[in-house]
Symmetry: C2
Subunit: 414 residues, 2 copies
Amino acid sequence: MFRMLAKASVTLGSRAAGWVRTMGSYQLLVPPPEALSKPLSVPTRLLLGPGPSNLAPRVLAAGSLRMIGHMQKEMLQIMEEIKQGIQYVFQTRNPLTLVVSGSGHCAMETALFNLLEPGDSFLTGTNGIWGMRAAEIADRIGARVHQMIKKPGEHYTLQEVEEGLAQHKPVLLFLVHGESSTGVVQPLDGFGELCHRYQCLLLVDSVASLGGVPIYMDQQGIDIMYSSSQKVLNAPPGISLISFNDKAKYKVYSRKTKPVSFYTDITYLAKLWGCEGETRVIHHTTPVTSLYCLRESLALIAEQGLENCWRRHREATAHLHKHLQEMGLKFFVKDPEIRLPTITTVTVPAGYNWRDIVSYVLDHFSIEISGGLGPTEERVLRIGLLGYNATTENVDRVAEALREALQHCPKNKL
Amino acid sequence: MFRMLAKASVTLGSRAAGWVRTMGSYQLLVPPPEALSKPLSVPTRLLLGPGPSNLAPRVLAAGSLRMIGHMQKEMLQIMEEIKQGIQYVFQTRNPLTLVVSGSGHCAMETALFNLLEPGDSFLTGTNGIWGMRAAEIADRIGARVHQMIKKPGEHYTLQEVEEGLAQHKPVLLFLVHGESSTGVVQPLDGFGELCHRYQCLLLVDSVASLGGVPIYMDQQGIDIMYSSSQKVLNAPPGISLISFNDKAKYKVYSRKTKPVSFYTDITYLAKLWGCEGETRVIHHTTPVTSLYCLRESLALIAEQGLENCWRRHREATAHLHKHLQEMGLKFFVKDPEIRLPTITTVTVPAGYNWRDIVSYVLDHFSIEISGGLGPTEERVLRIGLLGYNATTENVDRVAEALREALQHCPKNKL
Ligand SMILES: Cc1ncc(COP(=O)(O)O)c(C=O)c1O
Ligand SMILES: Cc1ncc(COP(=O)(O)O)c(C=O)c1O
């Protein structure tokens, strides 16, 4: 044993050949990479894709605040403030409200891992990529997955969902509020009530809509909801927001099997986040800096007021729609009532390649917009007006960029 | 349907009562939280616990760089540089090397979720909390878990591991390089070879040791290794580093079942991180800002050279040990050869309560040190010298703080 350790200890200078030095019987065979010797630099961009969005200046500043221990009282206070901020933007009083230490997908998994047990019947609204994704995750953990498949660009009516509930008797229904791959906002009125009549919990993904579209978790009877940091909240990607009401909590806490993931086990996260009285139980190292940033972005929304945020998104998007119509562009979502006020999907105009347009706008205007995703790949352009970015000035800029792109990009190349 | 949406639309001003405004049939019932109206402030601390550690100034600066899209070419370049940086600090040439978008626990799950299938035999070295944790995770996904249980503060010999391998025929062995709950460094020479003789893969947790203790992934025959951002790397917590060699990759890619998690499915992460040729496949939104920071921390290690980092940790820790011995304190780890050069565990001196000491040091010196964790709870103090923090000046500061604490904290209170 001693011999082994001695072998591994550092003997500097012997047989040094360039960067290769002998370390007992081992050598540093992998050199320090050249590329890392250059300074890090990041271009200035206006981020008008489906997210991440530009960070609000106050959020940006929080990103360079000094580190403190994740279980120190100052940090617990920040976590408390974040919980309250989430309760505000979700419009919920659920005590079981917290941050998941991973991106939107991780929150989706947190919801499904905790709520579903193998064999449970699970129903999804699949009218874009996110319903497919939820189905995929639920399938991996052994749920019986039923998908209500609709065309991308469509939404679900109460009647359609009722049929699904009656037929499949699911324990959980998944609906996406802001379907970012298709640009649809799913109306949510009445769906909670409907689910509850069928002894089903309602899980809503509000990643792409929260803060930009009215949603009232408690009043709309949503049992579990999650969202993400990098869209309307204008915080760095990597963490997400989640809340469980008492009924959802009961389902989780009366499971027969442990959820597959310890990292996202809500019974531990609840204790870490102080959702069950004062005592905190260490679980994992929380993303301190990301939490600083999220705290600031929630403070910004609280300051402005949710209604003003919602209105700003509606107005900026209406302004965008006007521009797009003037350009003769076609909305991917036919029904104007269900066009998402945060992310607009435009059908790629005939004869053009979406890539050319996106590249033109990026190269000539330093604006990021995006193509489609999943079922809308190749078919749409996606323009996001998220939080801080949802201004008429930004709309005018991207509209100008698009106009120029349509003039200059090759048409009918094939 | 139209009616429902109309109901949810904003009707400002009507029936306004303080912050409560009517939104059709819904109201903002949860007010913006008071606490968020105060500015965010964070105290200055010297973080000498087991992590997170203080951020290096260059890393801190990267935290407030502007956002760009996670799939833009500039970001792909940063990801490339990070991969090379990980290959350097891991001393590996594995192409399947990348960042997991979650803390150390998430990396642990990534390894276990991808490598183990239900029914697989899994062997852990359980001489502290991390072996227990790996066992818990493997159990949740239905592996047959075998633990080699040893006292906290001890390590594993080749002979002990060989007995475990022979008895349980595991497909995977888990060892912790830097056992941060006990302060043990596990020697790794020969363990890879030994595992391979038994057709077992070797998985090593280097969260608390990487960059502070010599490790050579390829030369030591480690098949899978992960580490984390918030220890020696001095980056914000929340993301982690992982690498699979070809043998490990083969095991993952020839699974019969899908891993339970989509978020950490390595076949997708490999395509997102460009580990399989040029094409990148969108998977989840990567934590852009955290990646900026990690890029900078890897650049700092590349600049200094791994050997210098290792030596600095060895020297600073030797200096700490001298202080502790002068104070008459006892090391929790009896064998000096296996004391971890990054985190030192000190037995709580007789008559004292660890909480008093930790609080004294915090309140009077703004230094964070920590108590025990898991099996060492109540029993030890943990002092971390991690990366940037591993200096003799810091050691002198914490030693002075400890000396004073021992003078002023209540003794034999009960
Ligand atoms: C509606 C919706 N759900 C889930 C996600 C997944 O979030 P993330 O990419 O942060 O994992 C996204 C991301 O774009 C989204 O728009
Ligand atoms: C050795 C070791 N493994 C795993 C972890 C878990 O990492 P995290 O807290 O980032 O989830 C830690 C954290 O302290 C650790 O020290």
